[in-house]
Subunit: 314 residues, 2 copies
């Protein structure tokens, strides 16, 4: 089965795709409408972002399964302190009381993104908000790498899983965008549920070897990702067997061997999160299909300097 | 005389203004509508940009008085080679044949901005395009630091000067924006002409000491800026005597003495172009009113980390 949205992520001769990570986290508030619009506006039509389900079953776009203290401010403009509430315990209305326009520069997380603009009045978007944006004819090339983030406390609850996937698909289908999204997760059990409910949509398998350090200030993939220790170069085979169309490894886990195997199996390889010039170079040398970056403009510049393209058109 | 647009650039207790330099040159194509819109959208309502007059007397927004080879591409997508044509020899229609969406990464100029997005189909805006953007009610706080760039070959031609200033003012007045723009130049003779034609608008005096190196790939200020060698700490007095409301020195020319003198004289001090964290810190310590930067988001982050503001509201 060939999925047009998978081909949108596929590289080629002199061509590597660029994917805006959470919009363009290096430049604008992550997982915000203004960040998505920025990425689309600069000619980076591929968007990676994170979906979590609220207490009232609304798919919203945010990374962690708890409100993220370094980016969530309360009505008084103060970053959260104390225990972070779970997204699954709040309604969408409660979520949208918080302002996600700034980064706490005194946090370890905040220090990672020193160029991010500081804004006020920015709210957690719903999945529907983003679907409506990409439904605009000017963004007809846009494709979504829609990451389903399961609450690790609920990941083994089949009813929760079914409802989570069902609600996401309901929104995607309501906007007629099933052919422009890939369903993307670290949670392979959740991806099974996706394939059950949406055999017409491709699955994208995220992986990260457990020996890599977690990114500071972010939910670890380890709570949900299978442990592939010692099997690094077999992962593409496992992804293929599980029914995957894309393989999305942490960039440090990629080798010439596993990229070659993935390509032989017809998988599209999209690596994350690649921000430094030397790492971009390594990924180009390894021949990945797509680079997911917090700095999509930087990756464009880098490819452009090498005479490479990031879109089939230009 | 108090000008509201001068107060918009004035700092205060815990407050330093941020000015987007040519939009946000570090992030997006310089002097482009998408760059201006980015700066305004992130809550940086002060825009510095450059105006040059075409052969058919249309004020257009571009920095050099010749087309800039590292940023101008022809209809075949190739960066200019050979002698760069003068803006004053081309009509606006001819100017807009060129695409300014990318930077030539192999040029010394291009290497200065490694994160700038690479776009296609971006045209030199007219001054009127930008005036129309800031006329949008959502950008009602926007103020323009409108730099008049004289063609050095014509700078001493009184008829050219009169016409240049006249055409700029005609556009600004047609949109009713005289109270939201400052007239800004290195060319003090041209600013005299501005004061003659627009006594209702403030003048902003750019200066750069000749011992500073020119920025690579840019027209030098030295062709038109008076030579203040040996008089560094007197410049504010000269600006005041010439009728200035703002003084805009190259950031390396600023001292505790000349900032103190400028403040004593009631001048507003806006320094350019400040991109590195250590330089931002120096400017904060010196107590300037405003920082002009290619990375307005970075300056916001830096101020925010210090508990400082860049707007009187937030």
């Amino acid at each position: 089965m060939t999925f047009p949205q998978v081909e949108a992520f596929r590289g080629g001769e002199n061509l590597i795709r660029v994917v805006g990570h959470r919009g363009a986290r290096g430049v604008l508030p992550e997982n915000s409408m203004i960040g998505f619009d920025f990425s689309l506006s600069i000619g980076v039509p591929l968007l990676e972002f994170d979906v979590v389900l609220t207490a009232d079953s609304i798919p919203v776009i945010t990374h962690n399964h708890r409100l993220h203290a370094p980016t969530f401010r309360d009505a008084n403009g103060r970053f959260l302190v104390g225990e972070e509430p779970k997204v699954s315990s709040l309604t969408v209305e409660q979520m949208q009381q918080f302002d996600i326009g700034r980064l706490d520069g005194h946090s370890a997380y905040g220090r990672r993104f020193p160029d991010q603009a500081q804004m006020d009045g920015i709210r957690v978007p719903t999945l529907m908000n983003l679907l409506e944006l990409v439904d605009d004819p000017k963004y007809r090339d846009a494709c979504l790498m829609l990451e389903l983030k399961s609450d690790p406390d609920l990941a083994h609850d089949a009813v929760y899983r079914r409802n989570f996937v069902g609600r996401v698909l309901q929104d995607v289908r309501a906007k007629g965008l099933s052919s422009r999204a890939v369903l993307h997760s670290f949670d392979w059990t959740l991806l099974e549920e996706c394939q059950r409910q949406a055999p017409d949509m491709p699955s994208s398998y995220l992986t990260q070897l457990p020996d890599n350090a977690d990114d500071v200030g972010e939910d670890s993939s380890k709570a949900v990702c299978p442990d592939f220790r010692g099997r690094r170069d077999e992962i593409p085979k496992l992804v293929k067997e599980a029914g995957g169309a894309l393989w999305c490894p942490y960039f440090a886990d990629v080798t010439a061997e596993n990229v070659a195997l993935a390509k032989k199996l017809g998988l599209c390889v999209a690596v994350w999160t690649v921000n430094e010039h030397e790492d971009i170079d390594k990924m180009i040398d390894l021949g990945v299909d797509a680079i997911v970056s917090d700095y999509p403009g930087r990756v464009q510049r880098h490819l452009s300097d090498l005479g490479m393209r990031w879109s089939a058109i230009h």
